[in-house]
């Protein structure tokens, strides 16, 4: 992941936001969607994505559906009811964070 330290804390929120918009998605699809939206600026690695997905599943935020697609099994992730509520909270938190960062990086100075 590009600038991994800066993006690391937001990975789960990004994933949840994508699932909120797209319903259900599989791992590779998530990596490609992020790449597409950010025009290749942000690349989520497999080593970061799957542990995050499994963690969210363990927390009850995501649930899985397994389906046979093109001679193999595909694991789709989707938000649970708890996950949908949690997404709203985490997005609000992230927006607050971005706002605060903007204030810190570009402070409006009063003279």
């Amino acid at each position: 992941m590009k600038n991994s330290q800066l993006y690391k804390g937001s990975l789960t929120t990004i994933v949840m936001k994508l699932l909120e918009e797209n319903g259900r998605m599989y791992g590779y699809e998530i990596t490609q969607k992020v790449k597409e939206i950010t025009k290749g600026e942000l690349k989520i690695t497999e080593g970061a994505l799957y542990p995050a997905l499994h963690k969210l599943e363990a927390e009850g935020v995501l649930e899985v559906e397994v389906q046979n697609v093109d001679n193999r099994l595909r694991k789709y992730y989707k938000l649970t009811e708890k996950g949908t509520t949690e997404t709203v909270n985490r997005l609000a938190e992230l927006e607050d964070f971005i706002r605060n960062m903007q204030t810190l990086v570009q402070p409006k100075l009063d003279y």
């Binding site: 791992g27 497999e46 799957y50 363990a58 093109d70 001679n71 193999r72 694991k75």
Partner: protein
């Protein structure tokens, strides 16, 4: 350009030979690699084997980070178990257990020949054998979803060794008895719940 069954099997065998022992973990990795390889084959108009080789040279390290080793400890599993224990139905069960042990003194049923530790040891062995039998003789394949709970059983066993009196002379308090009965029955219920969840997708895997 879609991969054939043989090419999918080739990726699966490659991962198995690289120590990805759990079927469910491997399936997710196979799908990821296969989808990426299919896209690259389409873009570069290339054959399967050179594309696969090129992809693995670049991405093997990252892909293998998802390989959960045998009996590797995972906080996610512990967290999942604790969440299960805090379900309202489990908490009610815990309170009923406490009420039961408060009303019925079970200490006279234990002696130096058969301590409360022995009882929990039998419980642990039964649960472990059931789990092993389910994997070895029923599923005949290894699934992380099923085996991950084994760590919790080990932790519970160690905890009861530490907190319960080893010899029969000492009485076990109502709190200790309630706690460990709750934890062990909770574990049994958690494992069954995991198997039920797993069975919803089991036919897909097998």
């Amino acid at each position: 350009m879609k991969l054939s069954k043989d090419e999918i099997r080739f990726i699966d065998t490659y991962l198995l030979n690289n120590d990805v022992v759990y079927v469910d973990i491997r399936q997710e990795m196979v799908d990821h690699i296969a989808t990426a390889v299919e896209e690259k084959m389409k873009t570069n108009q290339n054959e399967f084997y050179p594309t696969f080789k090129e992809y693995m040279v670049l991405n093997k390290k990252e892909i293998m980070k998802n390989n959960k080793k045998q009996w590797s400890f995972s906080w996610e599993v512990v967290q999942q178990f604790l969440l299960f224990l805090f379900k309202p139905s489990m908490l009610v069960f815990g309170m009923l257990l406490f009420y039961f042990f408060k009303k019925v003194d079970v200490n006279p049923y234990f002696s130096e020949r058969f301590t409360v530790n022995n009882l929990f040891f039998v419980l642990v062995i039964t649960l472990a054998l059931f789990q092993m039998g389910y994997v070895r003789w029923y599923l005949k394949k290894r699934f992380y979803t099923v085996e991950k709970a084994g760590n919790i059983l080990m932790i519970l066993y160690q905890l009861q060794l530490f907190f319960l009196p080893i010899f029969g002379k000492e009485n076990v308090t109502v709190y200790t008895l309630t706690l460990f009965t709750f934890l062990f029955t909770g574990y049994g219920a958690y494992f069954l719940n995991e198997i039920i969840k797993f069975n919803r997708h089991r036919l897909n895997y097998i």
